[in-house]
């Protein structure tokens, strides 16, 4: 195969992986604080519609992306209020967030269906992006792509190198002990959930401003759920989220190319591949129980009511 084609395939893998990486990184921080937010899909689609509509109105995709971050964070507050202040069941509330997000985005986006979108242009760093082959791949992509990579590094540094990160992990490990030591459990969890919402929002914006760029109802197509699976796959470690997201991105692209090449397998089977891969990966991970048990934040999904 031509080297040029390989590069363009690699770029498309990056594009397919970025939303998964963003959403999964955000959810990783949420789960490290002991909260299971199953509403990633809903926050992502809210980000997608907010990003697209604001970009259409202002004509500027960057303002759109910022709006998506804000919308994701604000939307996640709903979840935070219910699960943290009213101690509702986290699984059910996460589902509710997804259902509401899908409904709300459909209503907001109705007027935008079919409109040609504004694509966020690639940054094309001068000279470097003109390098043969790797230039486009490494230095000629969109801002959200670079943000996602920087974010993984930042999250890793924050969690394992800072005192605030240590506090967040302690809350996820044992919320009662943390409370006894005077660590503000609820406040830390609120902030973690909102960070997760912001990341999911940006992930959605990437779909509607870079990947597709259009508004299509339900365009997240289960990516939020795949991101949730990636966090388990990565056993709550940022570097492994990076690896996992790119593996899934690659599966998605492989499936597209197989369809384009006219491989005699029904398109529906190829479309199922990422979902099937998720199931298989989950089974493989779950088989190593010791790994999962050691890495799972011990208070994940547990309700916490402080005594006063």
């Amino acid at each position: 195969m031509d080297a040029q084609i390989i590069v363009s395939i690699l770029i498309s893998v990056c594009v397919a992986s970025t939303p998964l990486l963003l959403a999964a990184t955000g959810e990783l921080v949420v789960e490290r604080s002991g909260v299971l937010n199953l509403g990633v899909e809903g926050m992502m689609i809210i980000g997608a519609v907010a990003g697209f509509s604001v970009a259409q109105i202002t004509g500027n995709p960057y303002i759109g992306a910022i709006a998506a971050i804000g919308a994701g964070a604000v939307f996640s507050l709903l979840f935070a209020f219910l699960t943290l202040s009213l101690v509702t069941n986290q699984v059910a509330t996460g589902l509710a967030l997804t259902i509401l997000g899908l409904g709300l985005s459909g209503m907001i986006g109705e007027g935008f269906v079919g409109q040609p979108g504004i694509k966020m242009t690639s940054l094309d760093i001068p000279y470097l992006s003109d390098l043969p082959l790797v230039g486009k791949l490494l230095f000629g992509q969109d801002a959200i792509f670079y943000t996602s990579l920087i974010l993984v590094g930042l999250v890793s540094w924050f969690l394992f190198r800072t005192r605030a990160g240590l506090m967040l992990r302690s809350v996820g490990d044992n919320s009662k002990s943390a409370h006894a030591l005077g660590i503000p459990v609820i406040r830390i969890r609120y902030m973690a959930v909102m960070f997760g919402g912001a990341c999911s929002g940006l992930a959605g914006a990437h779909l509607s401003l870079v990947y597709v760029p259009q508004w299509v109802e339900g365009m997240t197509a289960g990516r939020g759920w795949i991101a949730l699976a990636l966090v388990v796959f990565a056993s709550w470690r940022p570097a492994r989220v990076l690896v996992g997201a790119y593996l899934f991105g690659a599966v998605t692209i492989a499936q597209f190319h197989a369809q384009a090449l006219g491989i005699p397998i029904p398109a529906q089977f190829l479309t199922s591949l990422p979902y099937l891969a998720t199931v298989i990966v989950l089974v493989i991970i779950a088989r190593n129980r010791r790994m999962t048990m050691i890495n799972t934040p011990a208070s994940l999904g547990q309700p916490f009511v402080p005594d006063r």
Binding site: R163, S170, D173, N174, A178, A180, G182, R290, I294, P297
Partner: protein
């Protein structure tokens, strides 16, 4: 370090503190004075309000009313870091540690905001050496023993250079030898001019350590005294406020057939943080109570689960109940052989917290009393009225105090719920009864009643195993005593040949090399 000129000055003075939870007055107008350099005991039985009081001193709880004066100034302790800034440190009863973090990360969390992790490791080492409390700063807390965990709590506390150290029931998890070491450390700290507020319900150690004591009962201060001038009986009656029935035991009753046989019972650890069982053998005979002593976390709950059948064995002969090999049987089948079980955790294991008492009766008896409780049919229709009649009977027999006709398990006090759970099993007149921590967190009256019931059951010809961390309880009820440590069990010996020192030695024993434990989980690490 604290200036020694402060000695015998008032360091802390609490007056009129009241704390109300809903309708419950956990603390009612409590006064307390702690002087510099003294070891002050706070005495009271379970539920007297000791923990509530010290949580307010450490800022984890806020008083409903009352004042706290620290070094002569009225203060408001709004959170634990405010307490730390004042110079108040605390060692918790149920440790406030994080299993998934290292020792130094655990320590860093309770110190100020600007701590260098590298400097912290060195400081941890130096403080732990200075006070003879060895610690490895890089070890994962989840892998440490209970004694080591307490050391972390104490070192963590000392690194803040506190003027007042609060210890909440610190010896309940230690071997007698470890407890002695702790007392030496505490005396040394008091010698440096620090004050210690020592919470306990164990009279012996209070008499050894403290010259002043404040006694709480039902949330109120009922007296202050010098423990050294009191007898154990006088202190106990002050704490409880009434005479407690003394447990009667007929000594040296003849024992009969083997009703429970453990034959080199071996189990791999169920989770990465749990204990394996290493070749445990024991014959439990009709008419005897065997006490299993040991420090928490040495395999007690694993042993209980293995005998109850909540964890089944690959080898059918590993456990025999009434002579029938039952290693592969589940808990219901083992119950049908005449065995009965009372687990350590009342809420969440022995009972469903939100379920009514009658439903919790059905929980343990739906198979053994199938003919009475269930109608015919595939799904088994429940005869609720029959269950309720028996439930009322048990409540009456065991003198369970409750509000309402059939309240939820969570609405009962610890002692009353435990009486119900024990009564639920005794009512079946089981031939084998296994009890794990029968009186943990139970008030003195209920504890005496439960212990008497266990002895009476054995006297009637059943075999009883009592797993307990409380040595007083072990000596009170047992005919023979064995010690569990590191997942292995010592040879049981007649209670009269056992001493605390001997038990302490056995508690420190390692059984790692006793047998080849199949460590399947570790192999995958």
């Amino acid at each position: 370090m604290v200036d020694s000129d402060d000695n015998n000055k008032e360091l802390l003075s609490v007056s009129g503190i009241t704390k109300i939870f809903g309708t419950l007055k956990a603390n009612d107008n409590v006064d307390l004075i702690v002087n510099s350099g003294e070891i002050h005991a706070l005495l009271g039985e379970n539920g007297a309000g000791k923990s509530t009081l010290v949580k307010m001193l450490f800022g984890s709880l806020q008083p409903t009313s009352g004042t706290i004066v620290w070094r002569g100034n009225k203060v408001k302790i709004s959170n634990p870091s405010a307490a730390r800034i004042l110079g108040i440190g605390m060692v918790f009863q149920h440790f406030s540690l994080f299993d998934a973090l290292t020792v130094s990360e655990n320590i860093a969390l309770s110190l100020g905001d600007n701590i260098e992790m590298s400097a912290l490791a060195d400081k941890t080492r130096s403080v732990s050496q200075e006070y003879g409390l060895p610690l490895d700063p890089d070890a994962l807390v989840g892998d440490l023993s209970v004694g080591e965990r307490q050391r972390i709590e104490i070192v963590r506390c000392l690194l803040q250079d506190p003027a007042l150290i609060i210890l909440d029931e610190p010896t309940s998890v230690l071997t007698p030898q470890e407890a002695n070491k702790l007392f030496e450390t505490l005396e040394r700290l008091a010698g440096e001019g620090r004050s210690i507020l020592y919470i306990s319900h164990r009279l012996e150690e209070v008499q050894r350590l403290c010259s002043r004591a404040t006694i709480l009962r039902h949330g109120k201060v009922v007296g202050a005294c010098d423990p050294r001038e009191e007898t154990a009986a006088s202190l106990a009656s002050k704490m409880v406020g009434a005479e407690i029935d003394i447990v009667h035991r007929e000594a040296g009753s003849d024992t009969g057939d083997i009703l429970l046989k453990l034959n080199a019972l071996t189990m791999p650890p169920a989770t990465p943080f749990s204990m394996p069982l290493r070749g445990i053998s024991l014959d439990l005979r009709a008419g005897e109570v065997v006490g299993i002593a040991g420090v928490a976390g040495n395999g007690q709950s694993e042993l209980f689960d293995a005998i109850s059948g909540e964890a089944t064995q690959a080898d059918s002969d590993a456990i025999s109940i009434n002579g029938i090999p039952s290693g592969r049987m589940g808990i219901s089948e083992r119950r049908n052989l005449g065995a009965a079980f009372v687990p350590e955790e009342r809420l969440g294991h022995g009972a469903v917290p939100n379920f009514a008492l009658s439903e919790n009766l059905l929980l343990a008896r739906h198979r053994s009393d199938k003919a009475d409780f269930l109608g015919l049919g595939l799904l088994g229709m429940i005869k609720r009225s029959k269950v309720k009649i028996l439930s009322r009977q048990i409540i009456e027999d065991m003198d369970v105090r409750k509000s309402g006709e059939d309240p939820a398990a969570a609405a009962l006090s610890g002692g009353n719920l435990q009486k119900f759970i024990v009564g639920r099993e005794l009512d079946r007149n089981p031939s084998v009864l296994i009890v794990n921590q029968p009186t943990w967190g139970v008030d003195a009256g209920a504890a005496a009643r439960i212990r008497q019931a266990l002895i009476d059951l054995a006297a009637s010809g059943s075999a009883v195993m009592v797993i307990s961390q409380d040595l007083d309880e072990i000596f009170e009820v047992s005919d023979r005593i064995a010690v569990i440590s590191d997942g292995g069990l010592s040879e049981p010996e007649p209670a009269k040949n056992m001493t605390r020192e001997k038990i302490g030695m056995l508690m420190g024993a390692s059984h790692q090399n006793d047998v080849d434990t199949p460590n399947t989980l570790e192999a995958t690490a």
